[in-house]
């Protein structure tokens, strides 16, 4: 297992896993581990926010617990739920037992007193269905908890997260407070489709991952696709960088660069020919309008002249 005891250790551990981290990312991860604080990762889609969590989980050899947020996500799906059907089934089965227990009881008060001896058996650990957040708190050897696209969830859900993020604990009314066995490393990602509350932001370290510059992107492509020809790699990275400067509806992100690089390798391309780019551009540009616009209005880009 890797220990993250310096920033360089973080960088090299992630690099060995194939994740090329900028200094910014490495510093924030290092601080998060050392200070035990969650990290809020923001940035355009496809720059490796989720991938960072996966890579960290592999480096730290801790399980990755992934909670995908969506509108209407509530504590029943994120935190815990009672196993209602099991409770019902048990009450049905135990009905007969009740007669035995109450045998010989005199009067109502006595019967109730006898029932009280059994406590809240139906609201105990056995009937608790843990959901991702509770799983993360209970993981024996720690875990990497990824709360993905937290901006898609409702504001109530954010409030639910606050206790977990700040104190690594959660309160379940019927049982009490569950504390983290071993502190999980928490990453939250957001695509800024909604403003997150200040309370949530305050509890996290903030990391903004922008589109990488060409040097970094070159290293990323090389790490992921060592097979690719150097000249081709530099060509395609500079091409993608140019596309990002255009006003597209959805600029190509790192994941698209990698997809494209993979396709080019598959096609045994050794250099970027305009015809080849034209045929494979749909891997890079995901909106039909963007695609048409680039093909028709910016043929200069295709021939690599900008």
């Amino acid at each position: 297992m890797q220990r993250f005891d310096s920033i360089d250790a973080v960088t090299s551990a992630l690099a060995r896993d194939g994740y090329i981290a900028s200094d910014d990312i490495a510093t924030t991860v290092y601080l998060a581990v050392q200070l035990g604080k969650p990290v809020l990762v923001e940035g355009p889609p496809g720059v490796g926010k989720t991938e960072l969590a996966r890579a960290l989980s592999r480096c730290l050899e801790k399980p990755l617990i992934h909670l995908q947020c969506y509108e209407g996500l509530d504590e029943g799906k994120a935190l815990y739920e009672w196993k209602y059907s099991k409770q019902l089934l048990y009450t049905q089965i135990l009905k007969d037992q009740l007669g035995d227990i109450l045998q010989g009881a005199v009067g109502l008060a006595d019967s109730v007193a006898r029932l009280h001896q059994f406590g809240d058996i139906f609201y105990s650990e056995e009937f608790l269905e843990p959901r991702p957040l509770l799983h993360a708190l209970r993981a024996e050897n720690g875990s990497v908890l990824l709360i993905d696209e937290v901006d898609k969830a409702d504001e109530e859900f954010e409030a639910l997260l606050l206790e977990i993020l700040a104190d690594n604990q959660v309160s379940i009314p019927e049982i009490g407070t569950v504390r983290a066995v071993s502190q999980p490393l928490v990453l939250l990602t957001s695509n800024a489709s909604r403003e997150l509350s200040d309370a949530l932001r305050r509890r996290c370290l903030h990391l903004h991952i922008p589109y990488p510059d060409s040097a970094l992107e070159n290293r990323i492509v090389q790490a992921r696709l060592p097979a690719i020809d150097r000249a081709l790699r530099e060509q395609l990275v500079s091409f993608v960088q140019q596309l990002r400067d255009l006003e597209l509806r959805k600029a190509p992100a790192v994941s698209e660069t990698l997809d494209w690089a993979r396709s080019l390798v598959l096609l045994h391309a050794s250099t970027l020919e305009p015809a080849l780019v034209r045929r494979t551009l749909n891997v890079l540009i995901k909106h039909q309008q963007d695609l048409q616009w680039v093909l028709e209005e910016r043929p200069g880009v295709l021939s690599g002249r900008g």
């Binding site: 200094d23 290092y30 604080k37 059907s85 800024a192 932001r201 996290c204 370290l205 903030h206 903004h208």
Partner: protein, 419 residues
């Protein structure tokens, strides 16, 4: 060094970064972990701990560059940018005991609290105080040349601190002033700042309102749904379902007097309402002087600010006649008014002695859920001259003065309150 960090954080707060005590503590821990030697890493670490919003990144970078580019004077390192003041150019002939002036100033500065230093006018005072302490320093020499150097060093120090703190403060003061200022007094050069401020206020208001609406959704049990959903549990209500309140699709009809003096208020009111687009669905806008024209399409086609300019150019003719305007307004919206509609009228109720047509206003008031009148005139002037404010006031559900952005904000916040 912790003190330096504190001052850095204070300077960030001046640049409107919301940094709470908890975050300052985080920053201290970060600095302890990373050390001050590697400035680049310190910057990244502090940024992760202190900047919680991408919008604040620029301010942080500027502050950091300003603050940590110069060596910290409190550590006794002579500041850069003051040629001839470094330790090795200490003036000779002042006796062996004299320290370099910059060093003396730095020591003196450590004893002085610079936090109140915000404005350029305070420069002299702080220079004087600093020099007083510096001259009393036992390791300072007394020759005139040395005194001159000391003064130069002190001046440079005060200027640098001023540069760190003074930039942000005027902006905040200006914003506060803009909020209180009468809207008709705004000058052209303030329009940009005003627009930003309005959008900011609208954003805040929208956020608060959204939350309020959510909260109002709970409370009533949806019996039907609860029973249906719990059929698998033999009708035992295991999961409860609450009745969802549909968001209030309130229709808002905004009607602005754009004659003469009121036009300027109309501009800001409309801009404010349009910045609230997220929480104010379905707004229809009208402008009037002596007849009412709908400008909703104009607003849809152009940006709010642009559309307002066009409306003013095209329709702002002549003096206002509320009677005829109300008649044509009623003709256009009378059929569309429901209990959940709100009619918002902005005007000074100066009718040029024409017929006020109180009956029409009464009908508007009766048919709409709410009739709100915003009057940009100070209350003292209501009912003076040709004003019929008093008459209209009795009919409206609310009739408020609205001359500054502050009042406008309050009025619109009330408008958004659930009834």
């Amino acid at each position: 060094m912790a003190e330096t960090l504190q001052r850095f954080i204070a300077s960030l707060r001046d640049h409107e970064l919301p940094i709470a005590t908890a975050e300052s503590l985080d920053a201290l821990r970060v600095a302890a972990l990373l050390g001050y030697a590697d400035k680049q890493r310190l910057r990244l670490g502090l940024r992760a701990a202190l900047v919680k919003h991408s919008a604040h990144l620029d301010a942080f970078e500027t502050c950091f560059a300003q603050f940590f580019s110069a060596a910290d004077p409190a550590d006794g390192v002579p500041p850069q940018g003051a040629p001839g003041l470094s330790a090795d150019s200490a003036p000779t002939g002042d006796g062996p005991s004299a320290d370099a002036p910059a060093l003396v100033v730095a020591r003196a500065a450590a004893q002085l609290d610079f936090t109140p230093l915000r404005h350029a006018t305070q420069r002299g005072l702080y220079l004087y105080r600093l020099l007083e302490i510096a001259r009393a320093d036992s390791r300072a020499a007394g020759t005139p040349a040395y005194r001159n150097q000391l003064e130069a060093a002190a001046r440079a120090h005060v200027e640098r601190i001023l540069a760190l703190t003074a930039q942000a403060a005027p902006r905040r003061i200006q914003q506060q002033m803009l909020k209180r200022m009468n809207l008709s007094m705004l000058e052209q050069r303030q329009h940009q700042a005003m627009q930003e401020l309005i959008q900011q206020l609208a954003r805040n208001l929208a956020r608060q309102t959204r939350r309020r609406r959510r909260r109002a959704q709970r409370g009533q049990l949806d019996m039907g749904k609860t029973l249906r959903r719990n059929l698998p549990h033999q009708g035992i209500p295991m999961a409860l379902h609450w009745r969802q309140v549909k968001p209030r699709r309130a229709k808002l009809f905004v009607c602005c007097d754009i004659s003469g003096s009121v036009a300027r208020h109309a501009r800001w009111l409309l801009l404010f309402l349009y910045s609230l687009g997220e929480v104010l669905p379905a707004t229809r806008s009208f402008v009037f002087t002596n007849t009412t024209t709908e400008v909703s399409d104009l607003f849809a086609q152009h940006g709010a600010a642009d559309a307002i300019d066009r409306a003013l150019r095209r329709y702002a003719l002549g003096g206002s006649d509320y009677g005829t305007s109300l008649a044509s307004l009623y003709g256009q919206i009378g059929g569309a008014l429901r209990r959940n509609s709100t009619v918002l009228i902005l005007g000074d109720a100066r009718n040029n002695h024409a017929e006020p047509r109180v009956d029409l206003l009464q009908r508007l008031s009766a048919q709409a859920g709410r009739l709100i009148w915003l009057n940009p005139e100070p209350q003292a002037l209501w009912d003076s001259g040709d004003s019929v404010a008093g008459t209209y006031r009795r009919i409206c559900h609310r009739f408020v003065e609205c001359a500054s952005l502050q009042q406008l904000e309050k009025a619109v916040a009330r408008l958004l309150e659930p009834r």
